[in-house]
């Protein structure tokens, strides 16, 4: 989000306003009250005696609550500082609650006219992004003392109800109050803005008392969430800040799908992706496993519930396929977009099996692995039966929904992300390299689950044979001999799409890289073409399409780097993993601990600070999860049987690091590490503490 924009949110409901608390959305501007992919308020402008206000400060009280301190007048005009205005706004399950207070600092009473302009365009988030026109009809009415703004298209109806505790003159465009404020007194009203979804009863009007109970519940829930995660002790302040920020943001962007109320999983990010994404939810759950394993459990269950069972070209559904994205807005409702759900991801299905195995290794929750046996088997079958579009034994993708489906069904899903060195774009199907790594890892991990938990040794043997064969073929067919790295993809002719990209780091994480090839791969990852000084670029300098501010062709993605650091650890490149962690955490310090989705791939020496990608989402789930996974890699945490082992290696600037009460199948355990800069200090225990707290 750009500067001066304030975001408050609760699961799938969020408000984006300016620093005065006002919303003046243009068709393409992502401000307003959003719930379930629909904008329920596009105008919300406060004036006092006809004057706009000036912001003095904004307090983020909680992630779901802000307080705006204002004075009447704008710019240098506000000479009358005898009044101040406070707007205290909290997002609720179905909208927001705002307490508007006017303070009179004068010795005389004042009478002021307070006006709130309100309007709702009921835009689908896709429309905000693409500036599409509406096909239904709007109307406004005053009903039972509340302003009701509504939009109807056939039987699709969405409405916003605005009510107030103080008396107001209400018209179709807002509410007007005549406020009398005593000397040194205050006037106040409570406003409720409720989204009516039309397909359930979420939008019921609630009392102020119910609102206060909700808020207390949210405060308690946030305290419980943060309290249940391990506590961090560290002598490097930016890491402490980033850790705390990650835990709170993760709480904020948990999304409780209407289809499974009471459960929550990480949605992808604000403002475009506040919804269920298969890939993003899985990756974030992986990153957060050592800290909040319950996210993984929910993600696995919810994605399993929606697992594909049929062939549907519009949604690109196949039996066993894990969804890419689910949406609730108008364009989805009228099937102008396929997100009901949309299955166009070539990686989420393999990653689903990876998460299930990693989850069990940490938690020992064998029951969930048994409960999801059918889903995991179907996912493994999908890899072989539906994903091998070229019949060459590799996972590839080509969209079946030509109109609104995604061209690139991998994490780098923009149109130009997959290219040859010279910048040409390959045809379809495309078999990107990381998809083969994920498939390999899914087979290896699926084999473990089959052998140890499902009691199916035959399946385990088969999967292990397939995995070994895939690894052998992959290291032969994807290896770019003259450059000593793995090709970004194979094209429809089976030829190498030979650009050098960050994807090779994911291959280390998946374990598909033969040992002898790991060293040259690492040399590329840490070399000047890929590593900017902050982190690994998505595409190497010198490639035809390289652009330091191109979405997937040169920017640095924190999440990408966290996976790469994990991969470096897997192949025992501890120093290099620590260098990745240190660069990304340095960058986090420039964003108050909140890593953006991506930042520019400029040379660190050239800019000195990380340049945020212009329209990057923030907070964004897998960026939020990044400091957590980097903590894991710095400490070298790895579950081995019923134990957690640590093999720490810290970046230079961290002297001591302790992570206390790490939950898992071992109960709770502490990990300690000491870095190079701790020389001469009283050392903490150099390795994992034995203080299991059960």
């Amino acid at each position: 989000m750009s500067d001066g924009v304030v975001t408050v949110l609760d699961g799938n409901t969020f408000v984006v306003s300016d620093r005065r608390g006002d919303v003046e959305a243009s068709p393409t501007d992502p401000t307003g009250l959003f719930a379930f992919d629909t904008r329920f308020l596009s105008r919300w402008v406060l004036t006092v005696d006809g004057l706009r206000l000036t912001s003095l400060s904004v307090d983020d009280l909680q992630y779901f609550e802000n307080r705006f301190f204002l004075v009447p007048g704008t710019g240098t005009v506000y000479v009358d500082a005898t009044q101040s205005v406070i707007r205290r706004r909290a997002v609720t399950a179905a909208g927001f609650h705002e307490v508007l207070t006017i303070l009179n600092h004068d010795d005389r009473p004042v009478d002021v006219t307070v006006r709130l302009d309100a309007a709702a365009d009921f835009a689908d988030l896709f429309e905000v992004k693409d500036a599409l026109e509406k096909k239904g009809a709007y109307h406004a009415e005053v009903r039972d003392g509340a302003l009701v703004l509504a939009y109807e298209r056939r039987r699709y109806r969405r409405a916003t109800q605005i009510s107030t505790s103080a008396a107001a003159a209400i018209d179709d465009h807002g509410l007007t109050f005549e406020a009398h404020v005593e000397p040194h007194g205050e006037w106040s009203t409570e406003l409720d803005v409720m989204a009516e979804l039309g397909w359930n009863d979420v939008g019921v009007t609630r009392t102020a008392a119910a609102f206060r109970r909700d808020r207390e519940h949210m405060e308690q829930e946030l305290a419980r969430w943060v309290g249940a995660a391990p506590s961090l002790e560290c002598d490097w302040e930016p890491l402490r800040v980033a850790y705390r920020r990650s835990l709170v943001d993760l709480a904020a962007i948990r999304f409780s799908p209407p289809i499974t109320p009471g459960r929550s999983l990480p949605a992808a990010g604000l403002p475009w992706f506040m919804t269920t994404f298969g890939r993003d939810s899985i990756v974030t759950s992986l990153q957060a496993l050592p800290f909040t394993p319950e996210l993984a459990s929910t993600t696995l269950q919810v994605l399993g519930l929606w697992q594909g069972t049929r062939v549907d070209d519009f949604r690109e559904e196949d039996p066993g396929r894990i969804l890419h994205e689910i949406r609730y807005g108008e364009l989805t409702a009228f099937e102008e977009r396929p997100h009901s759900p949309y299955y166009g991801a070539a990686d989420a299905t393999a990653l689903y099996v990876v998460l299930l195995d990693e989850y069990e290794r940490w938690t020992g929750d064998r029951q969930l692995v048994r409960d999801l046996e059918q889903e995991a088997r179907a996912a493994l079958r999908w890899i072989d039966e539906y994903a091998d579009l070229m019949g060459n034994g590799y996972v590839s993708y080509r969209r079946r929904n030509e109109e609104t489906g995604l061209e690139n069904q991998c994490w780098k899903d923009s149109w130009d992300s997959i290219s040859y060195r010279d910048g040409r774009l390959p045809g379809f199907p495309r078999a990107t390299c990381e998809l083969q790594g994920y498939a390999y890892d899914a087979k290896v991990r699926g084999a473990r689950l089959a052998r140890e938990i499902w009691g199916d040794a035959a399946l385990a043997d088969e999967l292990e044979r397939e995995a070994a064969d895939l690894k052998r073929r992959f290291n032969r067919d994807f290896w770019v001999a003259d450059g000593e790295y793995f090709a970004l993809a194979l094209d429809p002719d089976g030829a190498q799409v030979d650009a050098l990209s960050s994807n090779i780091g994911h291959l280390l994480w998946s374990g598909i890289v033969e040992d002898a090839k790991a060293e040259p791969v690492v040399r590329h990852l840490m070399g000047p073409r890929l590593h900017s000084g902050w982190g690994v670029r998505t595409l190497a300098v010198g490639e035809g399409r390289f652009n330091p501010i191109g979405y997937h062709v040169g920017t640095v993605w924190p999440f990408d780097n966290s996976i790469i650091a994990w991969g470096l650890r897997r192949y025992r490149f501890k120093q290099e993993a620590a260098r990745i962690a240190s660069g990304i955490l340095d960058a986090a310090a420039y964003f108050d601990g909140r890593l953006p989705e991506a930042f520019g791939g400029y040379e660190r020496e050239a800019t000195k600070y990380p340049v945020q990608y212009p329209t990057a989402c923030s907070p964004q789930a897998w960026s939020t999860g990044t400091p957590l996974l980097l903590l894991r890699t710095m400490l070298g945490l790895e579950p081995v049987g019923d134990h957690l082992v640590a093999d720490p290696l810290l970046p230079d600037r961290i002297g001591v690091l302790a992570l206390l009460d790490i939950p898992g199948r071992w109960g709770h355990i502490d990990a300690f590490a000491r870095g190079p800069s701790a020389e001469g200090r009283r050392a903490l225990q150099p390795e994992l503490g034995a203080s299991g707290l059960g």
Partner: protein
Amino acid sequence: MGDTTTEFFERVARRGHEPMLDKARGTIRFERVDGARTDQWRVTIDCGDVSVSHGPGDADCVVRADADVLDAVASGEANAFTAILRGEIAFEGDPELLVLFQRLLPATPGRAPMTDGAVPHGARG
């Protein structure tokens, strides 16, 4: 009378055990509203065992729609989830049960995105 919805529930009743619903437990009541007449079916799922009865009764989840809409869903012409988002199907109760039940609905035949102003093709039955 052989409407699509009735035929669909007759087919569901013959399925017996459905492994895709092994995790489902509960009863969904479907109400097909045709003018003044409302037909009801109760589908009870017990860990994959599916049984169907015609008529009213208790349920964990209730699905109500006009005859043309429900017929379109039962034939695979319309998608139940988007019909809910459009306000053409009302439901209350356990949504998870309904998501699982969708697995029994026929696949939508090769279809293009809907055009505005028209019900999903075939939905007017």
